[in-house]
Symmetry: C2
């Protein structure tokens, strides 16, 4: 991308990460951690392979991504974010937060991959402390299930099947998020089509306390006037 040539940190940031696809590559690496080239390709449907290669080279040159050889058993090249790259989390979250009202209540036409949803889930649940014994939820909302586990060390969110989940949630990502944020009740989201199997108590353990829920600032997935 041609530089804006402005003495302005916003312009400088856009000089580096303002190109098409670039921030989505960062999202992939934030969500998945270490990635192979083909992982990135699958997580970025529609990207041309030459563009992915070119963007990765550019990000590496700017100290945002590192490329390395994985040890012998796998013996492939892997990409990951540098600390400087991880600092882009604030940017990705700010943009993602702003874009929420643009999401329709359910995927329609768009591709949807579960690991995209894992990132905001991790953000929402990551700082929550869950009382009681270790608990596991499985969320089935996209191409792959998501496993949410609580233990003494905190809440973790992973893409993949849970081994012996205490409860399973099946439905749209919007409903799952509304439930976990506390903006809707268990009965509320069930009435809207979320299927809940297993222990309701296990789910309730993950929900915010009522005073924390009231801190939710705006409607999460709003009706966008332009859709």
């Amino acid at each position: 991308m041609r530089s804006y040539e402005q003495y302005c940190s916003l312009a400088k940031a856009l000089d580096v990460v303002g190109d098409r696809w670039t921030l989505l590559i960062v999202r992939e690496l934030l969500s998945r951690g270490t990635c192979r080239y083909t992982d990135l390709q699958r997580g970025l449907p529609g990207i041309a392979t030459n563009l992915l290669a070119e963007r990765l080279r550019h990000l590496e040159e700017h100290g945002i991504v590192t490329k390395s050889k994985a040890p012998p058993p796998v013996a492939t090249t892997v990409f990951r974010l540098t600390p400087r790259g991880e600092e882009l989390q604030s940017v990705v979250f700010a943009l993602g937060r702003w874009g929420l009202p643009l999401l329709p209540r359910q995927p329609s036409g768009e591709v949807f991959q579960s690991h995209w949803f894992a990132l905001p889930l991790r953000r929402v649940l990551g700082e929550r402390t869950i009382a009681g014994p270790p608990t596991t939820l499985e969320v089935r909302t996209g191409d792959e299930p998501i496993t949410i586990t609580s233990s003494a060390s905190g809440v973790e969110v992973h893409v993949g099947e849970a081994h012996a989940p205490d409860a399973v949630l099946t439905g749209t990502p919007a409903l799952v998020m509304e439930l976990l944020l506390g903006v809707s009740t268990l009965d509320g989201v069930r009435a809207q089509g979320l299927v809940i199997e297993g222990s309701e108590d296990a789910i309730v353990g993950f929900l915010p306390t009522s005073d924390a829920a009231s801190a939710a600032p705006r409607p999460l997935v709003a009706t966008d006037p332009r859709r």
Copy 2:
């Protein structure tokens, strides 16, 4: 811009504001408030006029910008952000914060316009409460002077000459910012070339208290390894 067609709020946000120049247009409107077309053109050196028109139309369609006729004395069309557009402030600040280490210590080759600097100044000073009588500083660091005033109602930052400033600071934006953030002392920035005229006490009134200064998280304008 072609849509990414992903059910992901980051991708949706980039569908709307990911185009080249778009976030810089938002920066202009955040910094200046109401703008005429030619104000925007001057604040975005290098933009093609058809692109500016196209982006403004796009932003208006998406409810980020409103176009209106100014009342008779001026009788021109003006652009401003909608509330939804103002919410992009978090995005602009996150990107601007991330981009800070990419700024060299002084403009060299890049265009520099004072009102770009007024935005982060406002962010830094806006929440500060200044004790004592109303005070005015003038900062001369770019094409236009910046006036910083403190009064009972808070701190305000405007582009333009101060009427009777208590002190005048002349030098690079980095030095001014380091002083106001408290990461450098008055004597420190003077040693690096910042020229200070008038009442030092007036300036000291704007500086953070020492405990607040220690909260500054990282070097502000770092030496970028790639420059």
